[in-house]
Amino acid sequence: MEQPVGAHWHRVRLNTRMISAQSFGDSGKMKEYHYTGPVEQRFSPYAFNGGTVLAVAGEDFAIVASDTRLSEGYSIHSRDSPKCYKLTDTTVIGCSGFHGDCLTLTKIIDARLKMYKHSNNKMMTSGAIAAMLSTILYGRRFFPYYVYNIIGGLDEEGKGAVYSFDPVGSYQRDTYKAGGSASAMLQPLLDNQIGFKNMEGVQHVPLSKDKAVQLVKDVFISAAERDVYTGDALRICVITKEGIDEQTMPLRKD
């Protein structure tokens, strides 16, 4: 899209008369306004690369899922760019938004994890990673990382934990959270199916791992129908005390 360039004075020649914008300066001599030099077009340091991320916490498992489409404007950069990144054996982070900041942020988190491990002789827990990420993000309060983060993992007791963030580091622990371009479509569905909201007389059955994986797949199929930025394939990371199990499922490619 073209941005309007700042107005500048013209020198207009009409027949033999010269009309120009002139004024009298401080010294009494006539000054003429005529803009020379570079004109700054609007440069935005951010881009929106699309993508949706979802995390669900169960009794003894956690699931982090994301689509694998990387887009910009009306084009697709890649059909195979998952947004889940493995941090430790018990923690996975999903990052969507501006891909450049996603990459840098995950590099920084990896480095900080290593530093912690070397100085404290143990791996960071999910809660600790979440608290650290909050400070990293707020450190850039006035030039934020354009990333919507969701951390999924197991806490110290082995129960599933999900932490959701905003771009400047505000976070809270959830049972389930959707982030990214189709988050507004997925979150109400999860509120209904996992949180049993707006339903009466329904048994609050605790979510099993297989049912949760099935729900995540169905919910992404629906998101791919209506959101143009979501599609191509779905990557699901299931985190249990045995380790992290990755699955991939195809989605709509249009």
């Binding site: 887009s71 404007g73 009306y74 084009s75 697709i76 371009s181 199916q193 707006n198 339903m199 009466e200 007389g201 329904v202 049912k211 099935q214 729900l215 797949k217 169905d218 199929i221 629906s222 791919a224 129908e225 209506r226 959101d227 143009v228 930025y229 989605l251 709509r252 490619k253 249009d254």
Partner: protein, 277 residues
């Protein structure tokens, strides 16, 4: 001394009286947290190709509102006359209404002349209307048909310029579709080859452009025959959901219930036909 106010003679062209009012409405809506309803754009891939005996028009079937899919199976190939069809990209309401207006006028014109309508006539009517509105009607069209002078294909832009070409593409996916055409177009193709080419061009738009998607519609127009194939190709099927999301009766909580009996009289109704002679 009171200044004299000269009454301006009415100027022709567009009246922008409502623009100030619209700006005020938009401002007050923004203050109260709302926004003006956005015109739905079709964010489309449409194309057409002339082959040996006629023309093939193709279109995808996705309509978007911003970056959300509003309609997964809308019809973008519009009827103009029995031998002329028109694909539309841009603002959905504009393409729909413009093609309907020209279709109606063309039928009247055809009855008046006593002849089958010509594609050049439809083209001339469309471009004169779009130019009159100076581009404010956001309709980018691919017009194709067969008349007494043979097969013809035009592309028409929102400001009113037209091009008469053997192959054209329009919409956000036009670059993807044109890439396919530039690679494989040959003059005087057979019908099946032309259908395959148009199908592949639309498919390129569907898979590589986020504004286009779902299915491929084709319209094959030849002398005396029109094949409106909708859908020609269901390029994208919805994924099969494994879970069951049915709600049993009573899941939605009822907060209050009020029953009001309506006192109605039963009248006997009879129809009297109007004298239309």
């Amino acid at each position: 001394m009171a200044t004299m106010i000269m009454k301006q003679p009415p100027t022709g062209g567009f009246s922008f009286e409502n623009c100030k009012r619209n700006a005020v409405v938009e401002g007050s809506l923004n203050n109260s947290g709302g926004s003006l309803p956005a015109a739905r754009k079709t964010g489309t891939t449409i194309c057409g190709v002339v082959f040996k005996d006629g023309v093939v028009l193709g279109a995808d079937t996705r309509a978007t509102e911003g970056m959300i899919v509003a309609d997964k199976n809308c019809s973008k190939i519009h009827y103009i006359s029995p031998n002329i069809y028109c694909c539309g990209a841009g603002t959905a309401a504009d393409t729909e209404m413009t093609t309907q207006i020209i279709s109606s006028n063309l039928e009247l014109h055809s009855l008046s002349t006593g002849r089958s309508p010509r594609v050049a006539t439809a083209n001339r009517m469309l471009k004169q209307m779009l130019f009159r509105y100076q581009g404010y009607i956001g309709a980018a069209l691919v017009l194709g048909g067969v008349d007494c002078n043979g097969p013809h294909l035009y592309s028409i832009y929102p400001h009113g310029s037209t091009d008469k070409l053997p192959y054209v593409t329009m919409g956000s996916g036009s670059l993807a579709a044109m890439a396919v055409f530039e690679d494989r177009y040959k003059p005087d193709m057979e019908e099946e080859a032309a259908k395959r080419l148009v199908r592949d061009a639309i498919a390129a738009g569907i898979f590589n452009d986020l504004g286009s998607g779902s299915n491929i519609d084709l319209c094959v127009i030849s002398k005396g025959k029109v094949d409106y194939i909708r859908p020609h190709d269901e390029a994208n099927k919805k994924g099969v959901r494994t879970g069951d999301y049915k709600y049993t009766r009573g899941t939605t909580g009822v907060l209050t219930k009020a029953v009001k009996p309506l006192d109605l009289e039963l009248l006997v109704e009879s129809v009297q036909t109007m004298d239309t002679s």
